[in-house]
Symmetry: C2
Subunit: 186 residues, 2 copies
DNA sequence: GTTTGTCAACCAACCAGTTAGTTGCTAATG
DNA sequence: CATTAGCAACTAACTGGTTGGTTGACAAAC
């Protein structure tokens, strides 16, 4: 106890879980403080208010994600597979991103995402210039396609009930195969 | 005034807009009643409570969607294009579906979706049996892929800033082309 | 007169954010 | 070493406003 850094970390962890599960409007500040085993006033001291707490949570989440899954322009199917793995293992990242998109329509751009996108686009552009990557799609189009395909299973409505019927390895296989097909030279 | 059916319809329309924009937790019952030009009491009389109002809104939304965009197993790229058009023209449907998935984790299955999926899967299966559709992917896999690709632009983070830079026809073209590539016989 | 639709006012619970006061650590002082 | 002043970490209790949901009085239609 009485360790500011540690308290801050516990609050952030609790907030990540709460926001990922319930979103901004659904999250309860009291629940976060309780889960972190400390008082609400600490939360306001360290993070200002609910909204900026979410911003911090989301920023850190994106930061971790970018570090964990660097783009590999010379093996996009493999890159898509790694994205899939990451979304399977840490679904909070994706949930936070979706909450952010839905609940912050006019929200300013998150610098972490802007930078990550620039880096990715540059890599893809270079790979195309070097001839190691098909030019059928532009870098932007590729990014959009890979992003959506790697999250395809996670964003499918539960009524398809696939999470139980199809094993993870098979779902991963689809993601990798689809991206391979898209960038295949004909 | 004094038209029960009309009042109900106005409430439903207002609720659709409110829920699509703010989700279940973020929606405000008073705002819905105000926007419908009637009193909160009517809302509770017709729909019971906030949650079941959302259920009604979502069910009707899915129903309309299914009627508007019937599956065409013999022209999946065209089908994906029509899905894309529908998501562009009436984004509420997709937003409601996402809110539903996020805020109703343990929610029972929506019968409208279950039925629609069965129909779609059957069509795809039949097309494969008849030989008019590639068997590279299973019907389920095809459905998941088409779904995710047709919503790719709508679910991309705003930081790519594509909504302004790329014209709609070009974004549509990507969706159609990607599906065409996926089901092409090699 | 009875049924049905409408509404303002109301309520208890809840919620984000604040405040005034307490606790425990540390380091300067003697 | 013992005392204590200062300060950051922490807390319980409170506040002002909001929210989902209800009620009872009234009005229109039949």
């Amino acid at each position: 106890m009485r360790d500011a850094e540690e308290t801050r970390r516990r609050l952030l962890a609790a907030a990540t879980e709460e926001f990922a599960e319930r979103g901004i409007a659904g999250a309860r500040v009291d629940r976060i403080a309780d889960a972190a085993g400390c008082n609400k006033a600490m939360l306001y001291k360290y993070f200002g208010n609910k909204d900026s707490l979410f911003d911090t949570v989301f920023g850190e989440s994106v930061g971790r994600f970018v570090l964990d899954v660097p783009v590999d322009a010379d093996d996009l199917p493999g890159y898509a597979g790694k994205l899939f793995d990451r979304y399977e293992e840490q679904p909070e990242t994706l949930r936070l991103a979706i909450w952010h998109r839905l609940e912050r329509p006019d929200g300013k751009w998150v610098t972490e995402i802007v930078l990550a996108n620039e880096v990715r686009l540059n890599y893809l552009q270079r790979a195309q210039d070097e001839g190691s990557l098909s030019k059928h799609y532009t870098p932007l189009e590729l990014l959009v396609l890979i992003q959506s395909i790697s999250t395809a299973w996670a964003t499918t409505n539960s009524e398809l009930g696939v999470r139980t019927t199809l094993p993870r390895e098979q779902r991963r296989g689809l993601v990798v195969d689809a991206v391979r097909r898209l960038i295949a030279e004909d």
